[in-house]
Amino acid sequence: MIKHPIEPDAEPAVRLNDVRLTYETKEGKRLDAVAPTTLTIRAGEMTALVGPSGCGKTSLLRVIAGLTPPSGGEVTVFGQPPAMAQQHKRLGLVFQEPALLAWRSVADNIRLGLQLNPRETHSSTEIDELIEIVGLRGFERYRPAELSGGMQQRVALARALAIDPPLLLLDEPFAALDEITREQMRYEVQRLWGISHDPTEPPRSAIFVTHSVPEAVAIADRVLVMSPRPGRIIADIPISTPRPRRPEHEHSDRFINDTAIVRAALRSPTTPAVPLDAA
């Protein structure tokens, strides 16, 4: 059953307190990638992060994943530093490119996360079951290069889910796919987001980085809009379309209205978002 109660009282999945990120360029100039950001992502929440290219969405995601240390501020994931989330394998990463091991079969790629840092492996998800769920039955022995782009990205999703992480971090996972596959994957990812999950862990949250407005509105409970660099969160828009969502929902007034609000926020980075038909 797909059921993701957002638990307001539970420990938040992610908490950013005045987090900023500054790069030093080769000429020694400072480049502000992410302006001071304070943000709470509740447990069980699916959050989309939208913004123009180069606004620091990916940088922010990397900070949360503990892959890039912030230049200032404090990051906690389930109340602990990101390094602890890595250590306990509570992060499921999916990138724009599938980034699979070319020499491993589909099944062995999915198994990778379980195999690494084995002391922390707590998942009970059977690889076979996972292969079935992501629709790769019959392709277990294939090499990634023998699969289509969409199938490769399913492998990457399954690999992230295999360790049963309470936080999924998805960095434009469908940007490299063709439009048709991409629209299907919107609903795939929501279904996969809900697959079996260790009840002793916090409900699964996800942060989904994208620059597609319809994708963000179709997937998320909440859309965060980022300004051009230095990235700042300029709008926080709740999405009310009920779950489970279906492609038909994209024709509803509610969906169209929500996309209009997000687009308006993207268009006017300095003023707060205003619904177009504020009736």
Binding site: M1, I2, R62, A65, G66, L67, A83, Q86, Q87, K89, L91, L93, F95, E97, A99, L100, L101, A102, W103, S105, L112, G113, Q115, L116, N117, E120, I133, G135, G138, F139, R141, Y142, R143, A145, E146, L147, S148, G150, M151, R159, I163, T181, Q184, M185, E188, R191, G194, I195, S196, P244
Partner: protein, 282 residues
Amino acid sequence: MISEPVPDLDTFDAPEPRSRRLSRPDLRPTLTWILPPLVALLLLAVAVELWVRLGDVSIWLMPRPTAVVESFFVDFGRYFNEGLKTLAVSLGGLAIGTAAATLLAAGVAHSQMLERAVLPIAIMVKVTPVVALIPLFIIWLGHGWNPKIAIAALITYFPVLINAIAGFRDVDPRMHDFFRSVNASTWEIFRHLRWPAAVPYLFASLKISVTLSLIGAVVAEFFLSGQGGLGAVIWIEQNSLRLEQVFASVLMLTVIGVTLSTAVVVAERLFSWRLDQPVTAS
């Protein structure tokens, strides 16, 4: 858990699962590749034969190809045994050189300091013809097998080092991020990411160094003609101007070179994950 059946979204354009059993090799392409050079070689031999016979060329300058072939088969035991010695030197050097270079490359791939310290020296030695060191090696290591193996090892060392470093580094940064995101250890990253990534590079460098090691072995044998080996045979026979024996020894070296190179290609087919090759059954 699934709440509703899910259509196979993009499996329709995917290839059918095919049998993983290796099919019987088709000999026709092999023949079309092997026959033309064989015919060309034969024509060349016939031309030389005619030139030597009709042009009345002195046997001190150029032996008749038929005489070379005759010597090769009549004295086959000798060329074979000496060839084994050369092969042993070559393989010994190759094994030591490859192992040592791979080990250092693994260190360099993990440490920028080590890279800065080692790479300039590596490139310096690379542009130096290492056979120039043979006299020194004889002084240091004596007149036995050791200086020969040392030269063969040194000559194979640098192609492997450079390639292995490139291989260990040829890692998708996203993949590296994934390993870090589950707190994989440096050893796990090496074992499951860097090492497999380097395998095609190692085979590419082996193709180069396998012939280099043979060169090193033969040149070293010139200097140590008392120790045997085809290099020694060539050296001794040319002193007596017995060119048939010289050519027959070269022929045996060619056979060894072809065998070694083929062995590397076969090993690559068996052990490499490269995608233009069939998946080995597991």
